[in-house]
């Protein structure tokens, strides 16, 4: 088989198929009014993008996308739905202005990609600045086979400190927003018991 179909053709075919599936999922998310189905489809969307990351050889990103995007976010969105309700109100306002904004921004982004270096170009600025030092250093100075880990936890540990802080802040935010009613409930429970 591989004699007839080159691997790069297969890779392109898989990529195109995945992008088509992504677009179909996105359109379905837009058109559905049942929020339960919408949450499930966004989970599928995350899983599809995780597969795309695997095609790009970014397994660490794919792993994060699959566990966070497809896994825990779906559960958290379902938990949110149990608070807000399962139906979406269909808005009657016109969609022309949002469509125009999307077209203009999307066109500008597409126009911008014309100036980008080719995918995987070894002479691209991103691959010439600090990346060679990181690739050499993570073998010599850090001795960690997974370069992603050495970049994430050592070279760029300030960023990761900030990211962990973001997650901590998100947790604090949820506690502050949803915690006050819980206290009230607990207080009424106590008075109910004593009465």
């Amino acid at each position: 088989m591989t004699d007839f179909i080159s691997t790069s053709f297969m890779e392109h075919a898989v990529t195109i198929l995945l992008f088509v599936l992504l677009a179909v999922t996105a359109i379905a998310v837009l058109r559905l009014t049942n929020l339960f189905a919408v949450v499930m489809l966004t989970g599928a969307y995350s899983l599809l993008s995780a597969v795309l990351f695997v095609v790009l050889d970014a397994v660490d990103v794919a792993f994060t996308e699959a566990s966070v995007g497809a896994g825990i976010s779906t559960v958290l969105m379902l938990a949110t739905l149990s608070v807000t309700g399962w139906r979406r109100k269909v808005s009657s306002s016109s969609n022309i202005v949002p469509l125009l904004v999307t077209l203009v921004v999307g066109g500008a982004l597409l126009y911008g990609t014309a100036d980008m270096p080719d995918f995987g170009d070894p002479n691209a600025p991103a691959n010439l600045h600090v990346a060679p030092d990181y690739i050499k250093g993570s073998e010599e100075d850090i001795d960690v086979p997974n370069i992603v880990t050495s970049v994430l936890a050592s070279y760029r540990s300030f960023d990761t400190l900030g990211e962990t802080g973001v997650i901590f802040t998100a947790g604090i935010g949820v506690m502050l927003l949803l915690g006050s009613r819980r206290k009230k409930k607990a207080a009424t429970d106590k008075t109910g018991e004593t009465a």
């Binding site: 397994v59 660490d60 794919a62 792993f63 994060t64 566990s67 966070v68 896994g71 825990i72 559960v75 958290l76 938990a79 949110t80 149990s82 608070v83 100075d141 850090i142 001795d143 960690v144 086979p145 997974n146 992603v148 880990t149 050495s150 994430l152 936890a153 050592s154 540990s157 300030f158 990761t160 400190l161 990211e163 962990t164 802080g165 997650i167 901590f168 998100a170 947790g171 604090i172 949820v174 506690m175 949803l178 915690g179 009613r181 819980r182 009230k184 409930k185 009424t188």
Partner: protein
Amino acid sequence: MNHHLILRVITKILIPPILLFALYVQFHGDYGPGGGFQAGVIFAAAFVLYALIFGLDAANDVAPPHIVRGFTAVGWLLYIGVGVWSLFLGAPFLDYSVLAHDPIHGQHYGILLVEGGVGITVASTMITIFNYFAEHGRLPKEGDDD
């Protein structure tokens, strides 16, 4: 969910491998894909699964919410603590090379501790967020209170 016998049995079988896989992802992050973020989420998923099948009260007995809430800060403080430790050893903030006699060993210790901090914060934050939403969802709606 007392009547879902199959779900309960499967959940009981699945939870230990999920926790073990989370620990594998956590500690094998140096060699393969994975790390604190992914491991934390997988670890939290086991508790979320337990809460979904056996109920929030049973899950709260396993992981008391006030302790899990505390761990969200513990992980981040562990991360910052590694940085402060390297400051005290005379190196820049979060420079792991001074944490051991050998710079490479120092880097390994630093990465291990920092990833551990990330894992603890991510896992406990995810469990806490799920907990608050689930708790909120089973309260009477805003209008029903009075």
